[in-house]
Symmetry: C2
Subunit: 374 residues, 2 copies
């Protein structure tokens, strides 16, 4: 081997290349991704949980915050944070993923936040069951949907609006939605929706409205921008679209070895390499298998049990790495038989790309032969 | 006015335009910036503090972590986190800024993390004085520098290394450096250097080594990659360069009004607009004045007193906004007479750009005339 073969390998351009605009980089500077190395942990470190905020973070005063129920409810509740904290509390680890995760892998790419793999995280959320509270407010017989509105406000495609979403009464009954005031044992952070948000486990993140101010019982379908104008899977611009809901089956690995600062290509020493990652699917469906592709061969990983319905599962694979250049991939299959595709599924807005992750690695000599600094 | 003049304004391309590579976007997805709206707060919310990590975050075990002193010390200390917590503790708000902040504004831009404005934050750091501990270890007479090495390891330009930096004994005596184990009243987060780091107040962030494992007393100048190969101000590639140290005088404003999701252009209602921002300079030098430019005229902002030596100062300006299109700017002057330039200072690696921030706003009709949703 020459003096530093990793350098030669690293100097070659990657296959995933693109040209991005200042606006996309601006979004990437605001909307932060999880650090993939923290996938080794069950719970994403606070502050490393991915963020996708459409508008500015509203800096709300928890003490004076009120959650207002309006529309076709028999009880027009108005609750303080203390009122909500006095209700039965529940803590639940939930894996959340942004519907736009993987957008950078779709060609041609839609102009929006250019996520590659990093818009997924798991936190422990504490709150009270939303369904019980909706029951308490008692929707009248004419109610078709319940809408949830945040304090975050701005423009999208020329339309000003508060961020809002809706759910049917049946969805509220089926999904284990939490009305949340704490994250990882601490009060919600401003950027994660303080003082109050919902968490809709198993659905992509857009449903988990932050900075929640209003819950309204509607007698006709909700037509808010973030429900009807976006977050729809569309094959082309004029496609009416299918609403995005359940998270698709997916897996990620902690990129092994050590990175190059700017290319993020990886150097790995030959010998035993413990690959580790996470796998998850929508609505609490457990993972059946995770496979790792090394040198064109798919191998079955060890998969941890599903301990928490809505949290990802850990997988590991012990790789006896020999010197060379590799593209590693991983893919999961869930208990419903859904499998990750190898190529990105097409969607004109770049939503729900669950194609298998690719990690480029260069395997050099064994550590014992060259020391830690080679 | 037509139906939605903001849309017409917002559809025009910005002057700050660029073409970015996948590698730059990848860095932006990892290295998260502060949310500029949180500049309204004295302390940046935990998790919104900007991050610039050269390599992967090492996930260290606090309980078994040891800080080792080596080289030309009379006392070869080896300290646990509990040993360090038993030393006199100090909590200090410190404004930290990445040396690469503003890189996206420099043309031609160097390939690295494409920060625009958002690599600056203020946290309350808790730890013990580094100078006292170095005294305790007692450097011998032949010592010229002390080096600080982290557990983060990887490649840059083909060179593998642990992240490390050095300081002279005189610098350690002069600067109020803290050996830190807590941030905003909670244990350090993994991505911010857990379980132990240093904070070098008043200097750009590269000096504040994270995941600290070794302190070494050197009898010849330190030649670590991050000290001699980068973090130098250079006019051209072959320029020997000037080491980057003190933070340059700078100010930022909270972008007023509400944003468009993807362009981040702002809509503001006519009437009184309370502009608010922060200003800071290196090594605890107080700010003398902050000026705001509106419609080509510079106006003096109200400046808060300097309460904490190393924390930014708040400024405000009440603007009677009339309908129209504006580019707002702000600039600060410090007590040493340093003023922010209007155009970016040249540096071939895009370091230390403290040019005045520009915020594009469209001022529409008064809120009372059109309601909140226009």
């Amino acid at each position: 081997m020459s003096k530093n073969p990793f350098k030669v390998y690293n100097d070659k351009p990657t296959t995933l290349d693109g040209i991005y605009s200042q606006a996309e980089v601006g979004l990437a500077n605001r909307n932060s991704g999880v650090l993939l190395e923290t996938l080794a942990l069950d719970i994403t470190p606070t502050g490393s949980h991915y963020l996708l905020n459409h508008f500015d973070v509203p800096l709300l005063d928890a003490e004076n915050h009120r959650l207002k129920f309006s529309g076709s409810f028999r009880e027009q509740l108005e609750l303080s944070i203390d009122d909500i904290k006095a209700l039965p509390a529940l803590t639940m680890p939930v894996t959340m993923e942004c519907a736009g995760n993987g957008r950078a892998g779709i060609s041609p790419r839609s102009h929006s936040m250019p996520w590659v793999y990093e818009a997924v995280s798991t936190s422990e959320w504490t709150g009270t069951k939303l369904a019980s509270l909706i029951d308490q407010a008692c929707p009248k017989n004419d109610v078709v949907e319940i809408s949830f509105t945040g304090a975050d406000y701005g423009y999208d495609m020329g339309e000003p609006h508060f961020f809002g979403r809706s759910l049917t009464l049946a969805q509220i009954k089926e999904l284990d939605i939490l009305l949340v005031y704490a994250m990882n044992g601490a009060p919600l952070l401003p950027q994660h929706g303080a003082p109050l948000r919902i968490i809709v486990p198993g659905w992509y993140g857009m449903a988990s409205v932050k900075w929640l101010t209003h819950i309204e019982a509607l007698t006709k379908p909700y037509d808010g921008y973030q429900q009807v104008k976006t977050y729809q899977l569309k094959m082309h611009k004029d496609d009416p679209g299918i609403p995005i809901r359940n998270i698709r089956v997916k897996s990620l690995m902690v990129p092994p070895g050590v990175p190059d600062w700017s290319t993020r290509k990886r150097f790995v020493h030959a010998g035993e390499v413990n690959l580790v990652g996470r796998a998850w699917s929508g609505c609490g469906v457990p993972i059946e298998t995770v496979e790792v592709e090394i040198a064109g061969q798919w191998r079955t990983a060890n998969l941890s049990e599903k301990n928490d319905r809505y949290a990802w599962q850990k997988w590991t694979y012990s790789w006896q790495a020999e010197p060379g250049v590799y593209v590693l991939r991983c893919r999961a299959r869930d208990m419903n038989g859904n499998v990750q595709p190898l190529d990105p599924p097409w969607d004109q807005a770049g939503f729900a790309n669950n194609a298998a992750q690719q990690v480029n690695v260069f395997v050099g000599l064994e550590k014992s032969k060259v020391g830690p600094l080679s």
